[in-house]
Symmetry: C2
């Protein structure tokens, strides 16, 4: 395979582009196990940076990490009726272990509410033991029929937070606190600004009272559910006997929340910023922020160029810039450029004999603002000292551009099903309409427009003028809702 | 349960002490799933610090993290004959998923050589693609009949490194590089100095050519295998067709290594340093290095004491000390002391009205050197500024004391099986003897002494005078070997 073989352009076939870019940027690969993928070092490095940022935010708000068993007795999953209805079709089941048939089958966790709340029930006696604020980083398994790298795989990696509180109000506050953390992370680290709000009853988590979600718009104008935060009420605490003695001496059931984001975020990042040359990784999440490529001419300048390249790498590292010196000898500079562009490293620094003579570095930015030149020659000192600012600018511009794209494809004041269909057929995007809250309308939208209700937007995302009528035309609007075709 | 209920003393029943201390220090708990445990935040926090330290060392030596599937086709495991013989009895098998029987059963990874080398075979074509140096942090499953918290559980967390090289020499160097990293980590972070060396053929990893191991001596003078590094030769590359074109243009099989440490290390840490009051966590791994307990008298000094406690906490944090201010209002200072001692926080700072008046802090050290006083009153400024040094001293003393303990229980120049048995019955420890290399001798040692060959020690651990005869008395010694009863 030629290194320079071009990707299918996004405009031609977005789905084909996505698969190609994930494989050729070496983010992930297919495995011999149906539905399971391999996350390669470049993809895993991005995930590690995501983990670090989220983990810091969880800990700063009082959460602790723990680890619960991978295998859950089938009878646990079956205890909460809506929960089992939602997850039963996707379970992977261990029936044999240690050479024997098991008396009770064990399922590989599709999510851990049941096993975790059974443990909390053991640890919590009194209101003094509350709140319990735990998170785990783990693999989970949901046997999907149609899989897509990062977006939908049988096994995926995620974090799942599980909390227990003495009051409904406190649990609801926790749910919203986490929703805010997710939004902040997606905006400030990923440059992927979501709309946040409430899920409709038909779209909520199996077992939740209320589900909140972050919905982000991809470049093909389809929605990606990127994170969810659930208020579980007492649904699980009643099934797992998670009780506490209140300050007033009463025995009460605890109030729970659960929330998670997964390696799906890596797919969201690719579909938010990637272009026809490859992935674009926001600097805050890039395992390598600057790659240095020495240009060796095969004459006696080579040693000086190599030394300068190493020196520049060290000086950038001293400024806290994650820098890779690509001194591989079997590859041409051109091949290196293609590779790092495909992988989405924000800046490339080229150093050749001419640059050395002129005391300059050639800087190539992975994405340039409209009208700006791709490659700039900058005096060495300024090129190095200014790099942290350049990375910040790059990060900010990715977010700005994604916000602009989302707003350009948010359609408000739409009042008929036909109009929604027209918009979604023509360009896609988020369509804001009124809704009576009747689930029958969701079914109509699915049938006619192939769209689902993504979210009942939170205050900051609602239209200035609230819609008067339900999109069905049959009833007054009780709430605004966002429709989209979705991953 | 009274908070102050004493633990079973180590001298009375070490195994009972261990279980109690793990549960009551809230490192881990039993789960409803047979053989699987829950790692609670205090235990997981220690594991996270272990991960961070090891991960930094792996990355500093050129390794990258990745993630491979949890489920492995049974046929993969079966390809390497010794491998399957070693792991078959312990497999957990998924036979049903997504509501259907699977055509081929999938096993939950007991270790990932097979799935990982099948992927490397896809990625590696030429010597230019080598070496491949990857690691993954993951859960694995080995269905054990007799489980012990942290030491032996069906599911455990670990890291597994897998590398591929163009030559046997390079792979062997990698194996030893990692063995050195493990040893350094165990000494400098855990204060748990292992003996390192080669495993005998009967004790090596199923599928390895040679296995190296770290063996540490616990306080009950039993050995704990704490980390292993395997030279796999071409055993797996031949089965998974992991070939490359050499620089000379020949097609050759790659040379592999694999290596891992697990959450078992947390158990090793407990059994190395714990005492009858609880766990002792070395400062470098302690999630909390200093806990501050304000002593409130219920008079008007309370506000000033609280303010001072918060100020001291902040000043310690500014020095990089991981500090917890324990201002819980429902617990007496005494209960807090017991709790943090049980959990093994290295230093406790008490602040009461009297300390405030005298500008001092009361420092209690979790472990004191022989003859030193447990609690010291130190002028506030000096108490704070000196804390990083005190933590370093504490860390160093733990290692020194563990080295002393190991040396006191290392028996060299032993020449008869009876003598070995006598030593192991009386005190336990590491017994160094000569060995012919005949596996029959290992069987005798098992039958007579209940001991296994732990390691053929590396040069730095060998006796000054090499043993002349095999411990069997039947043959000359070909190598020195260390016997012990082991976990």
């Amino acid at each position: 395979m030629s290194e320079e073989k071009k990707l299918t352009p996004r405009g031609e076939d977005f789905a084909a582009w996505y698969n190609e870019v994930v494989l050729r940027a070496e983010l992930a690969d297919y495995s011999p196990v149906r539905g399971s993928m391999v996350i390669r070092p470049w993809g895993y490095g991005i995930w590690e940076n995501m983990q670090r940022a989220l983990d810091d935010m969880f800990k700063a708000t009082g959460h602790e990490n723990a680890y619960f068993p991978l295998l859950i007795p089938l009878s646990f999953i079956e205890r909460e009726k809506e929960h089992v209805a939602g997850f039963a079709p996707e379970l992977a089941v261990v029936t044999r272990a240690g050479g024997k048939e098991l008396e009770e089958p064990l399922v590989i966790r599709p999510t851990s509410e049941t096993i975790i709340y059974s443990m909390y029930a053991k640890w919590v006696q009194s209101y003094r033991d509350l709140p319990v604020l735990m998170n785990q980083w783990a693999n989970v398994m949901r046997w999907e029929m149609r899989t897509r790298l990062f977006l939908r795989t049988a096994e995926f990696l995620w974090q799942e937070g599980h909390t227990a509180h003495a009051s409904a109000e406190e649990a609801e506050r926790e749910t919203l606190l986490i929703l805010g953390i997710y939004r902040k992370f997606m905006e400030e680290w990923m440059g992927m600004p979501p709309i946040t709000g409430l899920k409709s009853d038909s779209e909520k988590f199996a077992g939740a009272v209320r589900s909140y979600a972050c919905e982000a718009l991809m470049q093909d104008n389809k929605a990606l559910q990127a994170g969810t935060s659930h208020f579980l009420g007492q649904n699980f605490s009643r099934q797992f006997d998670l009780k506490f003695q209140s300050e007033a001496g009463q025995e009460e059931y605890a109030w729970n929340t659960s929330w998670g984001v997964s390696t799906r975020l890596v797919g969201g990042l690719v579909m938010s910023h990637g272009d026809d040359a490859g992935v674009v990784v926001p600097p805050k999440l890039a395992p390598i922020q600057v790659v240095i490529v020495p240009i060796l001419r095969g004459d006696d300048s080579a040693t000086a160029v190599k030394e300068k390249a190493a020196e520049v790498a060290n000086r950038l590292r001293e400024l806290g810039v994650r820098t890779r010196l690509d001194d591989r000898e079997n590859l041409s500079p051109g091949s290196k450029y293609y590779e790092w562009e495909r992988k989405g490293v924000p800046f490339r620094v080229e150093i050749g004999p001419k640059d050395l003579a002129q005391g300059q570095l050639a800087l190539a930015r992975r994405v340039t603002p409209e009208g700006a030149r791709r490659k700039q020659f900058v005096p060495e000192g300024e090129a190095i000292a200014g790099m942290p600012d350049r990375l910040e600018d790059f990060q900010r511009e990715l977010l700005e551009s994604a916000v602009r794209r989302r707003e350009e494809h948010s359609y408000r004041g739409v009042t008929s099903v036909g109009e929604v269909k027209e918009i979604l057929d023509a360009t896609g995007g988020f369509v804001f309409t009124g809704w009576s809250g009747d689930p029958a309308v969701e079914q109509t939208m699915k049938d006619v427009c192939k769209a689902t209700s993504r979210v009942i937007p939170g205050e900051e995302f609602r239209s200035e003028t609230p819609p008067e009528n339900c999109i069905s035309g049959d009833a007054p609007s009780r709430m605004e809702v966002v429709w989209a075709r979705a991953y």
